[in-house]
């Protein structure tokens, strides 16, 4: 049986047809009106809606219908499965039932004769492997037919279709529009007129040419806006439809009934209707062309997912789809092949390129016992590895999910922009009424000049009447106000930014994390394991009263200390155990062990009570450490951590261990200072040790002797001073502080990103990635601000000019087609500006990560060849 679906769950639904910010509010509105839907968040750039809902009250089909009711669509895909084992009509019902019970499957039609099941489903909500499993669990065998496309191909296909559709529209509107323009300006073409037939300038011919443009490429605006209006929603299409419709309607009236009083033949606006349509379609086409490129990074990650795996069953090799590999399967990898899933090397030796996931430029050596990550590329040797994480659990799947989630989320600045854009359309229509009323009753009488013309056009307004003139300005306001660029400004930059950061192994969990990171003022670094390697080693051992007869030896001290720490996972404890073993001391198991956080450990060993920890612990337990304190001070002044050992409440000795800085800590801190950020270090260690490390790394503000549970308090104190604080830590011990900080950065997490606390996950154990995160966030927010500036710049500049504010002075008005061209330029310029983010490179330069796409081609040779024969 399939696992029951929890009643309350979150799903991400792909939505097609959204072109502007107001579309977001329509889709959000339509979905949130459904019973059982508690929260909806739509992202224009990703074309996805994230929905919190009660699945017992609302189905995928309900949501799909709600989305299509407001003029958009949820794309579905079809797949045909070969089903074996069906013998009768009831089998059909069983298989259909098993498939339609799956979340995300909208229909399943089984053909008993052909032994196939044709399944319609929402990509991303259900995987083909789940369908096959459901059929298998119903008692049949299912195999995927080879024509099935994966989600990536489908997305590319959908985008390609949109580009082709708008391209066709553009060819029609552009070519015919050009004829309309030539015909309209026939009298002004001078000697060129001898090449052009005169009949092209006849108004009715121009009208005939304009009609297919309005009814063909322009039809989408009318049908989309009508669908929306029926459900109480307005969008950009309405602005265009009103503009094109008004220009065309007046032009028809003035041509057919020239004496009707609308301005006569001198005021036909066929070219306005035709060129306005052409420019809007041009904008849509360019937008479709460029928008897909902002999500290139996630596409590259998705491409890394291998399709096939070579599993060893006994002595034979078997090629199976990568998503069918089970945990525990033994897999074989040859040179040049991609690693199918995550696992542990069991046999063999090779160098594996992990740059596509971690940004680490050098291939890493892999031998027995080493972990390998699915999607990475095996370079030299062959090896066998045991699968440890498969399907959605693999590092690559987790990273893709994390980046997708981040891209689907909204930054606060985006929520504001969406709200503004969503309410803009109605405001613009109100403005259009006001503009019309003003010019009709006052403006025309006061300022109209028959010799005035359009901007960038020799076309005179001449015979235009009060109604035609007022209408012209009103229509221009509608067209020039379109806030399409506003809707794209933030999400497109966020997508590009999160994707680019992911290429360097920096994962932002949400768009808000980018915005917060860009505003940081103070960074607090955890010392152990973050600034330092976190693997201290024993440097000094001192025996208390060593000159006295019968005193303990150095080996005894190490033996007791290591025994007490044997079950500890603290780095200092591990260093002592390692140090004892290196010196040949026997490390036995303690009879009892208790960790005292921030102080040390307490254990019972070979019948003795052993206490190992700092001064505070000794003082609390009344152990007089005597002259050891003096030695300890010397050692601590050198940056070493001293732990006192007491046996049966008597001082026995001390052990000093020292941690060393990570390779790039100093460089990273230096760069952060250069960026004007305040940098602090936090540690549970004593002040002297902390100061010694801080001096080495170049940090001036040190928060020492802070217990793990108090780190969050220290963060809070800095926040109370009005600072925006980031905490950089290891994500496990520092979880409360990471959660308290404005931005929590979990460093060196490796690829098990799902377990990490923190808003920013740094996959590699390299502090320079903190700088990468900051610079990527700043670059992204810079782009967001630039985009919003350009988007609003066009509108704020365009609306007054379009409304005729400057007309009394300059005697020029903006034609609707110029307004349309300006709006197309605004959308395209915003998208192109975003694409500049692809050139982002962090200031602390390392060899750039190898281009994943190129590697995949190389690495997937084997996979593609075998897939082809599937």
């Amino acid at each position: 049986m399939n696992a029951p679906i929890p009643a309350e769950n979150t799903i991400t639904l792909p939505v097609l047809g959204m072109t502007c910010a107001s579309c977001i509010s329509h889709v959000e509105g339509a979905l949130s009106e459904l019973p059982g839907v508690s929260q909806v968040m739509v992202n224009l750039a990703t074309g996805k809606a994230t929905i919190d809902r009660d699945s017992s009250r609302v189905s995928i089909e309900d949501m799909r219908r709600a989305v299509s009711d407001v003029g958009y669509s949820v794309p579905t895909a079809e797949i045909t499965l070969d089903v074996r084992g069906m013998t009768c009509a009831s089998c059909v019902a069983h298989v259909e039932g098993a498939l339609t019970d799956l979340e995300g499957v909208t229909a399943a039609v089984v053909n008993l004769g052909l032994g196939t099941a044709r399944v319609t489903y929402v990509p991303g909500l259900v995987a083909v492997s789940q369908m096959k499993r459901a059929v298998r669990e119903a008692g049949y065998e299912a195999q995927e037919r080879s024509q099935g496309l994966d989600a990536l191909d489908r997305e590319r296909q959908a985008r390609g279709e949109e580009i082709r559709r708008q391209g066709r529209n553009l060819v029609v509107a552009g070519a015919v529009g050009l004829l309309v323009m030539v015909g309209t300006f026939y009298d002004m073409l001078g000697p060129l007129r001898s090449w052009i037939p005169e009949w092209l300038s006849y108004k009715w011919v121009i009208g005939l040419l304009t009609t297919p443009i309005v009814l063909g490429p322009g039809r989408q605006f009318f049908s989309n806006s009508w669908r929306g209006l029926k459900h109480g929603v307005t969008d950009m299409n309405l602005l265009y439809a009103t503009g094109i419709g008004a220009a065309y309607g007046i032009a028809v009236i003035n041509t057919v009934f020239p004496r009707a009083g609308f301005g006569g033949e001198g005021a036909t606006f066929f070219e306005s209707a035709a060129l306005l349509t052409a420019f809007i379609v041009l904008g849509r086409w360019l937008e479709a062309l460029t928008r897909g490129r902002t999500s290139e990074a996630i596409r590259k990650l998705m491409k890394l997912q291998p399709k096939l795996a070579r599993v060893l069953r006994g002595t034979s090799e078997e090629e199976i789809p990568a998503d069918e590999v089970q945990v525990g399967d033994l897999l074989l990898i040859r040179p040049g092949e991609s690693v199918a899933v995550d696992g542990l090397v069991e046999e063999g030796y090779s160098a594996v390129d992990e740059s596509m996931l971690t940004g680490e430029s050098l291939p890493l050596e892999k031998k027995a016992g080493d972990p390998v990550i699915g999607g990475t590329l095996n370079k030299t040797g062959a090896f066998k590895f045991r699968a440890t994480r498969v399907g959605k659990e693999t590092a690559l799947a987790q990273i893709i999910k994390l980046v997708e989630d981040a891209q689907a989320s909204k930054a606060p600045i985006q929520k504001l922009a969406d709200w503004v854009a969503g309410h803009f359309i109605l405001g613009v229509h109100v403005l259009a009424v006001l503009v019309f009323v003003f010019w009709f009753f006052f403006g025309y009488r006061l300022y109209f000049d028959p010799t005035s013309s359009f901007i960038l056009s020799p076309y005179r307004l001449g015979e235009i009447g009060v109604f035609g003139f007022s209408l012209l300005l009103s229509v221009t306001v509608l067209v020039i106000s379109c806030p399409c660029a506003v809707g794209l400004a933030t999400p497109s930059a966020m997508m590009a930014g999160t994707g680019k950061a992911a290429e360097y192994g920096v994962l932002f969990k949400a768009a808000q994390a980018i915005e917060n990171t860009s505003k940081l003022q103070t960074l607090i670094f955890d010392k152990t394991g973050t600034l330092t390697r976190g693997e201290p080693s024993v440097t000094d051992v001192l025996v208390y009263g060593e000159t006295e007869p019968g005193s303990l030896t150095v080996e005894d001290i190490l033996r007791f200390a290591a025994g007490a720490e044997k079950n500890s996972e603290h780095p200092l404890g591990e260093a002592i155990v390692r140090g004892a073993r290196e010196r040949g001391a026997e490390v036995s198991d303690p009879e009892r062990f208790q960790s005292i956080p921030g102080h040390g450990v307490e254990a019972a060993l070979q019948g003795h009570a052993v206490l190992l920890g700092n001064r505070r612990l000794m003082a609390q337990r009344g152990v007089d450490i005597g002259y050891l304190a003096e030695h300890a001070e010397h050692l601590e002044a050198e940056g070493k951590t001293v732990m006192f050992l007491a046996i049966d409440d008597q001082p026995a000795g001390l052990i000093a261990v020292a941690d060393t800085l990570k390779e790039h800590s100093r460089e990273a801190i230096q760069r952060l200072h250069q960026l004007g950020l305040e940098v602090a270090m936090i540690t549970g260690d004593n002040a002297r040790t902390a100061q010694a490390i801080a001096r080495q790394v170049g940090i001036h503000r040190v928060l020492a002797e802070v217990l793990p549970q108090d780190k969050a308090e220290e963060v809070k104190k800095l926040q109370a001073q009005g600072k925006r604080v980031a905490m950089v830590g290891d994500g496990v011990n520092d979880a409360p502080a990471l959660a308290q900080a404005d931005v929590g950065m979990a460093i060196g997490s490796g690829t098990d990103v799902a377990k990490e606390t923190g808003d920013v996950i740094l996959i590699k154990d390299d502090l320079r990635d903190v700088v990468v995160a900051l610079e990527a966030a700043k670059a992204t927010m810079r782009k967001v601000k630039q985009n919003l500036f350009w988007a609003f710049f066009y509108n704020t500049l365009g609306i007054p000019i379009g409304a005729g504010l400057l007309y009394p002075v300059i005697r020029l008005v903006v034609s609707p087609e110029l307004a349309g061209a300006l709006m197309a330029v605004s959308s395209v310029s915003v998208t192109l500006n975003t694409l500049l983010l692809r050139r982002f490179k962090p200031s602390l330069r390392r060899p750039a990560p190898t281009e994943p796409a190129a590697q995949v081609l190389e690495g997937a040779r084997w996979a593609d060849v075998t897939a082809g024969g599937d």
Partner: protein
Amino acid sequence: MEGDAVERGIARRSAGIYLPISIAAALLFLTAASLMGDYTPVARIGGAVWVGMLSLIVSMPVVTARVKGRARRRE
């Protein structure tokens, strides 16, 4: 099926509000144009139609959304 009937009811109730609003705006414009100057009948009527249409576009989504919201609250 039941959902469609509810939708139709909402659409009818909404139209009962936004259509009078739009017609009122158009009539107001027509009256003003008739009183305030020597506009041609075509300009007056054309203007009234344009103002009425824009008023319809403004009031239709606002009214429909409100009526829908009220109906949902009642449920």
